[in-house]
């Protein structure tokens, strides 16, 4: 049953230049030959252009068939990938023919599940693949790729090693040392290790939030002194009236975000409160938000105009300087990479778009380390953290009961093991795999 041959479209539904259909399982080669009406057996990695027929024998398309022999395929089974024209009707007919031949439609996440079960990847790698499919930006793909190679596994292992060293120090006290005066030293050593690993957990947990942001799109933040035209630019870019545009300096007290698609990429545009030397009370919080937004941004658009200087001394990874209100004053000394626009009149926006996309697609320098991608992974690290905190609280007491501390540290290690897929039960497995989209 488990090895029944499955089929599905691997690329998104809808019109596109190319669609990929994937067959996996014992009869994948046989069914592919059936689709193309050929009889010669194919070799591993062979790629050929073949006609494609419907079950009535009528030719409907032609496509590139690529054959992968088990176990050297994604799922570890025989796999055939067929690239055909991206016409939903053609795809539907090919799928129908495959079903007619005996395949069945893949369940969500089934390809990855098979890959996992065939020992092709660890559980956290498998989850990364799920996130990979769902991820929309280049950066997310980059980090998910890193995860597939086990980078998140690596950072979890680092924490695990730290915990194991703390635990072994305690176990030494309980199991080996018959002296009683060494306990104090051991405790302070263990506290140090635990504090350190607590920080590592924290940073992994916050990387989850960053990871979600990356997977869901780029963040573009507009900054500049009050009244330079940030809200106007945002509105121009979004094409909607979402921000309050006003003449009084500092009306945009909070950040305003809007999601839009530029060149097919998901982008979250953020309009911030103005940055200036003297904050008034009402805006103080908004300004702090601005600093925070800049930290999370992929690209910062720094606006200035004839009567306001660009905001300087801002430590950001990527910044595009934009000279606004060009309709009022042409900037003679425009520096090379600066973009010159009029937000109000919509001039220069084309150029800005281009510069923006070029910069975004070049972003490969996420300063954080490694992502954790799924809620399950986050929960594991969080429960690890909570056990570490409990251990630390126990160790603060005057006569710490170290055997209980050991138990908590073991629980913490257990949480990480569940991250790494060690203590997986069928329940968790099923949940993990059903949250994947069809195709992988």
């Amino acid at each position: 049953m488990e090895n029944q041959t499955i089929v599905s479209q691997a690329t998104p539904f809808g019109y596109s230049s190319i669609a990929v259909i994937r067959l996996s399982g014992e009869h994948a080669f046989l069914f592919a030959s059936g689709l193309a009406n050929i009889s010669t057996p194919r070799k591993h990695l062979e790629s050929v252009l073949l006609p494609i027929f419907d079950e009535g024998g009528k030719r409907i398309d032609s496509g590139i068939f690529t054959f992968f022999k088990n176990p050297r395929s994604y799922t570890g089974e025989d796999v055939v990938e067929i690239s055909c024209h991206g016409n939903p009707l053609i795809v539907k007919m090919i799928l129908n023919h495959s079903l007619f031949l005996g395949a069945r439609l893949a369940e969500p996440g089934e390809y990855t599940k098979r890959a996992f079960l065939n020992g092709k990847m660890s559980l956290s790698q498998a989850e990364s693949v799920g996130a990979l499919i769902a991820s929309k930006s280049k950066n997310a793909i980059y980090y998910n790729n890193k995860n597939i190679e086990g980078a998140s596994t690596e950072s979890i292992n680092t924490i695990k090693e730290g915990l194991i060293s703390a635990l072994s120090a305690i176990e030494y006290e309980l199991d080996i040392s018959e002296e009683e005066d060494t306990l104090h030293k051991t405790v302070s050593n263990v506290v140090k290790i635990l504090n350190n690993n607590n920080l590592l957990c924290r940073s992994l947990i916050s990387s989850f939030d960053a990871g979600v942001a990356y997977s869901s799109g780029f963040r573009v933040v507009i900054i500049g002194r009050p009244n330079v035209g940030k809200s106007t630019l945002m509105n121009a870019l979004v094409g909607l009236n979402r921000s309050i545009v006003s003449d009084a300096a500092g009306t945009t007290r909070d950040t305003v975000t809007h999601d839009l698609i530029i060149d097919g990429y998901p982008i979250t545009m953020i309009d911030t409160a103005g940055v200036r030397e003297v904050y008034d009370n009402i805006e103080a919080e908004g300004v702090q938000r601005t600093t925070c937004e800049m930290g999370r941004a992929d690209i910062v658009l720094s606006l200035y105009s004839h009567d306001t200087k660009p905001v300087d001394n801002i430590d950001v990874k990527k910044q595009i300087n934009v000279y606004n209100k060009a309709d009022l004053h042409k900037n003679k000394k425009l520096s090379g990479s600066d973009i010159c626009i009029s937000a109000l009149h919509g001039t220069g926006l084309e150029k800005l778009n281009k510069a923006l996309m070029a910069a975004l697609l070049d972003v490969g320098s996420f300063s954080g380390d490694v992502f954790i991608n799924t809620e399950r992974q986050k929960q594991s690290v969080m429960s690890c953290e909570s056990s570490i905190l409990k251990s630390l609280a126990l160790l603060k007491k005057e006569n710490p009961v170290v055997e209980i501390v050991a138990y908590e540290i073991k629980t913490a290690i257990g949480s990480l093991d569940s991250f790494l897929g060690k203590t997986t039960t069928d329940d968790i497995l099923n949940k993990v795999f059903s949250s994947f989209c069809v195709g992988k």
């Binding site: 309980l174 199991d175 306990l183």
Partner: protein, 622 residues
Amino acid sequence: MKHHRVDVVVVGGGHAGVEAALICDHYKIKTLLITMDPSAIGRMSCNPAIGGLAKGQMVREIDVLGGQMAATTDSSGIQFKILNKKKGRAVWSPRAQVDKRCYEKLVLEKIKKSSVEIITGEVVSLLYKKNRVAGVTLRSLEQIYSKTVILTAGTFLSGTIHIGERKINAGRMGEERAEGLTQHLESAGFKSGRLKTGTPPRLNRKSINWSKADLSLGDTNPVPFSYSTKTFNPTNEPCHTLYSNDESHQIIKKNRDRSPMFSGDIGGVGPRYCPSIEDKVFKFPDRDSHLLFLEPEWTNSDQIYLNGFSTSLPEETQIESLRVIPGLENVDFFRPGYAIEYDFFPPSQLKNTLETKDVSGLFFAGQMNGTSGYEEAAAQGLVCGINASLKVLGKEQLVLTRDSSYIGVMIDDLITKDTLEPYRMFTSRAEFRLALRYSNTPDRLLEKAVECGSIRKSLEDLLLSVIKQKQNMREGLGGSMAPDEIKKITHLKHSAPAKDVLKRNEVSIWDLPKRYLEYPPEHPAWLVNDTIYDVESDIKYEGYIKRCIVEMRSLRKNEKIKLQNDLNYGAIPGLSSEAIEKLSTIKPENLGQAMRVSGITPSDMAVLAIHAVKESVSRGTT
């Protein structure tokens, strides 16, 4: 020549052999003990102590399961002490300094009083009927027919003693080694390996300047090991401690090449937890001293065991490096320290009953299985004896689980993990350590012991009343304390169940009103203390113990999913080649065991779990 036909042959009269023979006798089956030297029965060949960290808990388990070690220790101990008192109640471990001569004498008396027959001889091969064991053959060529055979050969199988460059073929110092049995077992298909262990020198009491040593005494309120011990007033003989120093370390370093461990003469792997002094000096170069214990081997003994100084250096180096230590300036030896190498049989060849997987009726116990320690050996001997008897009687075998006992943990570890060094029990090996206390042994094991019939009726009755007593006390503690009663012991304003008051850090069970602490008059004072203390532990640790119970349940779930003995692991798609190899040799009996096999990865587990569940569904056995 007498023609023998018995129910069980026990080969070896060490701690495993003694427990095995005596419990078989308890089952009233015809038992024959074969030893190369009857005068060495029950001998404590290494340190003069029983119990200690994790081992003390095992000795209590041996007691509840019907073994003799605990009671004999109580009668021969000369100093009793609970270790780890400051480190947490679940790891409290009883330990006794024992009069070796007395222990040996008491054991021999017990054997003589029983119907166990002793013969002197060396077993060189086994007899078989198909894949069943049918008896043994002695070097004298005498054949003895038996339904079951328990091998407990200790360090005697091809034993080689090393002292510096000297090599002596022996099973123990001064005792002949056993030849040929290893080769025989290998030819029968068993795999063997080589391990080593060591022992320190024995010093002459009169040559030690005792004024320079520090005193170390036992507890003033000693706790016995055995529940059958009533009044308990053992002596409290002192031990002494000394520290090695840099000068002595320098001498050891200079002669390092003469230690067979470093010269390459010893191939066997030694225990990391009990390193020789030369190991310690090299592995911890920044320590300029190591603690040494001077332990009397028996009451008023002139022979002093130098605990902490296990070594295989040449005798003159041993003396030289000790004589620079204050207090040992003029020290003389009765016997130098030495290392011994011996054959063992990787215990993955055993079932969780300690019967071999391939030869029915054949059991292995003790150092042959790669363990070290009297307590570990005794526990295995006991389990082998019980299961051999049950087999002879046609009854269901005794299997101890990881959540029931340290013995269960040990056996499961032995059969699933690679043995890379002699196996010693540690509390950290038990995942349910908080629930495996020395003081709750009856609660964990009495039912099993009664079920398999290994416990004497009188002890069973006593332990039932202990368990009942604990239940009553726990129930009683659910009752409310009045505010003025509470006020005296903690700052809580309103009335509350005694249990909740007891959970507070600063409250001890002894602070509670007397009505909560009533106990049956027939229980000896030490047992009353033990019981009350254990009830306190249960309540103080309640939250953690509940968590343990949840974990135990999920463990048991996996234990229930059986794996067929003839399962073809190579045919399961997705198993890694290492997993296929390991699982095919170990042939785990259930999913839980498979999970613990060394080298099994999470994805192997997932594959195997799905396969096993699918199988049991298609067999309709879930």
